[in-house]
């Protein structure tokens, strides 16, 4: 499917961002990239979190990093040398970042140059943003065509996401130069129906009312995600789980497909799993 388009249009840049840390950006970036690639789209996922470098671990390629994003930006390596080809999915690539540099190593021109080059070769360029709203995060979103704002159903995460949505509407190339908006979606992660029922978390409806952007999907809190991360496996490439089904549904929506909500709904825990603790 990948070699279909001879003169393909330029690839789409999608930033995975959130403002708040620890909400599941990198996990989501890895899962979305892997799910897109699985469907035959040539996909690259870039780590913008300079200095921390988590994406390559989640993708299970940390031992294969030789050159990185920063080397490419600074002209010390060619893009081809830095791209790591995933061993599981033919159409998936990873552009890792540097652990020894800091965010000052990112320049607007450098990022733009790398992204333009990637756009010629790939269908989807997934940018895994660092937490916060500082330079690293701003550069990750600056050239985006679309944004996935990862949010947990709790107030501080929702407020940070709202802040990020404001930046997406004003501090991006699209907003500054073209006067158009980056198309933004919310991805609700770490969703836990029991904690919502107990009144400890916000409902999906509450979050959407505040953020007022379309919902891409709801990812349940799940041990499958933890397990997958620990073995360096994007959750959608691991064995089937509620979380992987939810990510697949989210990616279908990202591609503009209609998704039957029943297909991804969490199974009601039966008596057995309730007695012995649900493991999604």
């Amino acid at each position: 499917m990948t070699q279909l388009k001879a003169k393909a249009p330029l690839g789409k840049v999608i930033v995975i961002t959130s403002g708040k840390g620890g909400v599941g950006k990198t996990t989501s970036a890895a899962a979305i990239a892997a799910a897109l690639a699985k469907r035959g789209h040539k996909t690259v996922v870039i780590d913008f979190d300079v200095g921390l470098r988590n994406l390559d671990m989640i993708m299970g390629c940390e031992r294969r990093v030789v050159f990185d994003f920063i080397n490419v930006i600074q002209g010390e390596a060619r893009l081809k040398q830095a791209l790591i080809h995933d061993k599981r999915v033919e159409t998936l690539w990873i552009l890792p970042t540097s652990q020894t540099r800091d965010k000052d190593a990112l320049t607007e021109e450098g990022v733009e140059k790398v992204l333009n080059e990637l756009k010629e070769q790939f269908d989807y360029i997934i940018c895994d943003s660092p937490a916060g709203i500082e330079r690293g995060a701003q550069l990750a979103m600056y050239f985006a065509d679309e944004a996935v704002v990862v949010t947990n159903p709790e107030v501080s995460s929702v407020r940070d996401s709202d802040r990020v949505l404001g930046l997406l509407a004003s501090k991006t190339k699209r907003a500054e130069e073209e006067g158009t908006e980056v198309e933004a979606h919310v991805l609700l992660t770490r969703h836990d129906q029991r904690r919502i029922d107990a009144g400890e978390m916000m409902t999906v409806e509450d979050v959407l009312e505040i953020l007022a952007v379309p919902l891409l999907g709801v990812i349940p809190e799940s041990t499958a995600i933890l397990r997958a991360s620990n073995v360096g496996m994007p959750v959608v490439l691991d064995e089937p789980s509620a979380a992987s089904r939810s990510y697949e549904a989210a990616v279908s929506r990202l591609l503009g497909e209609e998704v039957d909500p029943r297909a991804e709904r969490e199974k009601k825990p039966g008596l057995f799993s309730r007695l012995f603790g649900a493991s999604a």
Partner: protein, 248 residues
């Protein structure tokens, strides 16, 4: 206490190559208006009470000391004591306004900046009248915004009404010299009559505000009647108090 708006924020865009850039900044400060020439124990009890009931408004907010009502308050030691006492309560006192020349000398010695450009809320009638003819000279410029105002964003209508077709998020701020209309939920801060227009009103479809202010008089979420939460309301001044009224 009053709210006080000084200057206008202008964002010059993002160019991170420069080592610095100059930006206008719209600063919302809180003025503590001293009414007694010798602030005594009662003053501090009242101040502590105010801090307790309005903690999220006062703590961390930039604060100026307003000395207009106390021109006779020139004793350096007393003023210094007052400044120390306010600061020791965790309030970020940075400036002084309406100070006489003598007061200014003492205040500057204590590290306070004389704030000259502040427009005062109209608890003082004289000032409101004086600025009346001035304002009529300016052309009215109403502003209509057709999007949500996100957390951290600020929208200002300097000379007229502000209409938002959308919601105002928690952590966002909308300011107008005239009325504010919000066709959505108000979760952030709304400041109408910012130049002192006591006839300005705030209208919103759903009230969840952090702060409401008309011509300098304000209410915070803690002092808004819980029965008015999530209602469609108007907010206006009546007999020097801020009233919130439901539409039926």
């Amino acid at each position: 206490m009053e709210k006080d708006d000084t200057g206008i924020r202008s964002d010059t865009g993002s160019k991170w190559r420069e080592t610095f850039h100059v930006r206008g900044r719209f600063l919302t400060a809180i003025a503590i208006r001293i009414e007694s020439e010798r602030p005594d124990a009662n003053f501090f009890v009242a101040l502590d009470e105010k801090i307790k009931t309005n903690a999220n408004l006062l703590i961390g907010a930039p604060i100026v000391l307003d000395l207009e009502a106390v021109p006779g308050f020139v004793d350096g030691t007393l003023l210094q004591n007052l400044i120390d006492a306010i600061r020791s309560r965790g309030l970020l006192l940075f400036g002084v306004q309406n100070a006489s020349a003598e007061q200014r000398t003492v205040a500057e010695k204590a590290g306070l900046i004389p704030v000259l450009i502040g427009r005062d809320a109209p608890t003082h009638k004289v000032r409101a009248e004086a600025s009346g003819p001035m304002r009529s000279v300016k052309r009215l410029e109403n502003k209509v915004i057709r999007r949500h105002i996100r957390s951290g964003q600020m929208v200002v209508a300097e000379r007229g009404d502000l209409t938002i077709i959308g919601s105002v998020a928690s952590g966002a701020e909308v300011v107008a010299s005239g009325n504010i209309h919000i066709y959505g939920t108000l979760r952030g801060r709304a400041i109408a009559g910012a130049d002192g227009d006591e006839n300005a009103r705030i209208f919103c479809n759903k009230l969840e505000a952090e702060l409401l202010a008309v011509a300098g008089l304000f209410k915070t979420s803690e002092t808004i009647d819980p029965d008015l939460r999530s209602r469609n309301v108007q907010v206006f001044l009546e007999d020097e108090t801020l009233r919130i009224e439901r539409f039926l």
